[in-house]
Symmetry: C2
Subunit: 281 residues, 2 copies
């Protein structure tokens, strides 16, 4: 039995709003759990930044969250997972999950012919973190990775269902078509919001893997095996807490639309987080 | 880091041949891992036995397997999981996985309306183990459990694809139709072999969950988080080892058909296993 308690919260860390797709899946698949979310909205997006910057930003937030009563932490951003998961695990005594390995394992589960595609930000694809996670389990898999820098701006524009959106998605995914993939990992937490358009381009033979859904599933597995699942009744939906580093207005608008409910959003000073982190680190 | 080693084997325990669907998924999803399988073919089926008998038989085999160099154990039989998982976990220092919780978590993941069906042997359904595992995570789920005692004999007859088989499956599943389920857990390791017939009866709106597939996926997750995934190349497919308590001929025939390859099968004396277990227990 761990020293951490089943009634403690789950921390979810993201560069901004993308990790809300992971939070939404945690609310749905683990409705008894309490969530503390951190969105680094002042410094997002992480996708085009250098790995060194992303690593530093992520570890600063990990340090801030490590002072809260958490029983598990999810790095709900593929770019941050690729850059800092290993170090976050070393610095934190609780289980730390990224979004890359759950997607990799789910793709292996559904891929009968072992032909797996990965789409993500430039940072995620350039890190080759999915390819490594997949080949770590089965070195004979065929993996085709492709960066789609146009898709995050599309999702955040809120016009993901327009005719123009379909054209952007079609162009972004065109290079996948020649590879007869049997699964495609949506290796960015924004992408579940345009699943329909992506599915239309890749066709029914290719199963789409949402790293958000799969990460919530693995969080459930890990909490169970550690004896850390919350008990009792469903946690009141309005009582989860959202920290952000930027202005609340825009985050609140997107988040309340995606999650369909009013949220408790608190802005925290990034400078104080950075100072705290430097004092110790 | 665990005291057990990544190069150690995975133990898979079953009442007979049903757990081979789990073994097949472990070979597919974790091709670098070595498997030691135990099929209690002399005493199968476990489904119609009392929980006390199933518990005793399962713990005898757990005791036998605990002397082998294993890094994880899978109880690949729903009836045995329901009767003895908790005690097996207490007696063994390595991770012990059952087939019930992975199926429950997968059903929660895919069920958007929270209406989940479970089919299994009389022992599994009577234990209410799936209902408990599901409601432990979300007490507001609707769960409809239904025993299907005619399906295991059908699968073992080898005539699972005949017209008569379709009629048997149709009759067995008729009570499910009124419940508008959005997922159905195949809560017996035999059932993945008649997935097609089951799918025809329940229709496309109901996603079928194979506890064999989901258990292999969770084994991958647990080994990863314990630092116990095997490294290197694929394990040679002919080198897995199968222990059975009955005569090899019939097991070998079914197993080589299901797995599509020749197997190394070794009969062990059940009496010596029971004696060993009593000496210590």
């Amino acid at each position: 039995m761990d020293q951490h308690l089943p009634q403690s919260a789950i921390g979810i860390l993201d560069s901004g709003v993308g990790g809300l797709t992971v939070a939404r899946e945690v609310f749905r698949q683990l409705p008894k759990e309490r969530v503390l979310y951190f969105g680094d909205t002042l410094r997002c997006p992480y996708g085009p930044r250098t790995p060194q910057e992303v690593r530093q930003f992520t570890l600063e937030i990990v340090h801030f969250l490590s002072r809260l009563p958490l029983k598990a932490l999810v790095i709900a951003c593929n770019t941050a997972t690729a850059a800092a998961l290993q170090e976050a695990r070393e610095q934190f005594s609780i289980p730390v999950l990224g979004v890359i390995e759950p997607g990799a394992r789910a793709a292996i589960k559904v891929s009968r012919r072992g032909r797996i595609g990965v789409i993500g930000t430039q940072g995620t694809i350039h890190s080759a973190a999915y390819e490594q996670a997949l080949k770590r389990i089965d070195s004979e898999l065929f993996v085709f990775s492709h960066a789609c820098p146009t898709l995050v701006p599309l999702v955040e524009s809120g016009n993901g269902h327009s005719e123009e959106a379909r054209r952007i998605v079609h162009n972004a995914l065109a290079p996948l078509k020649a590879h007869r993939l049997d699964s495609l990992i949506l290796g960015c937490t924004h992408y579940p919001l345009i699943t329909e358009a992506i599915g239309e381009v890749v066709g029914e033979e290719t199963t789409l893997i949402s790293s958000a859904e799969e990460t919530a599933r693995e969080l459930s597995t890990v909490l169970h095996h550690k004896g850390l699942l919350a008990d009792g009744r469903r946690f009141p939906t309005g009582d989860h807490h959202f920290f952000i580093s930027g202005q609340p207005a825009s985050f609140r608008r997107i988040a309340e639309t995606w999650l369909g409910r009013p949220l408790e959003v608190e802005q925290v000073s990034l400078q104080s987080i950075i100072n705290q982190s430097r004092t110790v680190g």
